[in-house]
Symmetry: C2
Subunit: 166 residues, 2 copies
């Protein structure tokens, strides 16, 4: 069981640099990455798992399990809640998505593969949220990792602030 984890160390977790392609092209290899990951664990690539990954790719940005479920239903792909959660787990293990929590209630996830991490700023008064991406931050992250001898994979940055009165 825990061996599965060690195994996934062999499976590349550190994905190739995002190439200068369109969003869609960048996501094209995702399906095969997932397939490879499943094969490495002797798991099966099923219709349901493909559907879930598709729905995630179709979404731009963070999502919750429930949203995914609704999306799938809207497309006529009926996948059970249990399977959605189970697939999310696998995608996390594969390093294809990451958990990005904004509040404690629910888990939020987002695509990791081939993307700049999205940083965000939340207003502590209104709850308003804006997303951004800072190259400087990524550079800082890489520098910190280099100094400590770690290999960067991703990051999560959230700023708590008060938005200007409109």
């Amino acid at each position: 069981m825990t061996e599965g984890r060690a195994d996934s160390a062999e499976t590349p977790r550190l994905f190739p640099e995002p190439t200068e392609t369109t969003q869609l092209q960048a996501f094209a290899p995702l399906c095969s990455v997932f397939r490879r990951f499943l094969k490495s664990r002797d798991l099966k690539y099923t219709q349901e798992r493909a559907d879930v990954l598709d729905a995630i790719i179709a979404r731009d940005g963070a999502f919750e399990a429930e949203e995914l479920l609704l999306d799938l239903r809207a497309r006529g792909h009926d996948v059970s809640k249990a399977t959605v959660y189970r697939t999310i787990r696998l995608l996390l293990d594969a390093g294809i998505i990451t958990q990005s929590l904004f509040d404690a209630k629910q888990s939020h996830y987002e695509l990791l593969y081939g993307r700049e991490p999205r940083d965000c700023m939340v207003c502590m008064k209104t709850g308003r949220r804006i997303e951004f991406s800072s190259k400087e931050l990524t550079a800082l992250r890489d520098r910190i990792c280099r100094e400590l001898g770690w290999q960067p994979v991703g990051h999560r940055f959230q700023i708590f602030a008060v938005s200007p009165r409109e």
Copy 2:
């Protein structure tokens, strides 16, 4: 109800810069900050609320509600689980503690007042975690906020990386 939030805007959420004092001295004013906050909302400063805040100060670093409960019990301060959760809410609203989530299961909190935020790096293979604090990051945060016209309160930064093989 929602007025309470607006009200808390008057109560300082943006705490004074950490002064060059010992930990303990830095925490000394916390109790009165909490008191002032409660008064501003016509709430009472009770023994239980004081006990919870004490337990939080006694702990160094992040904590969970359950841990707090055990600490309190160990000191002979019997506070119910419900009250612990209710007090945590208040302290969050007061801006005295902040939520710092490392996993999705449980909420983690930590003292915010008079402290540098703690950034952390997690190993995606071993789960090993180290904490650090980067002035540069805080400066970057402040710069981003200034550019957008927001007022910084705090932040959370987590790096996902792979630790060097020992």
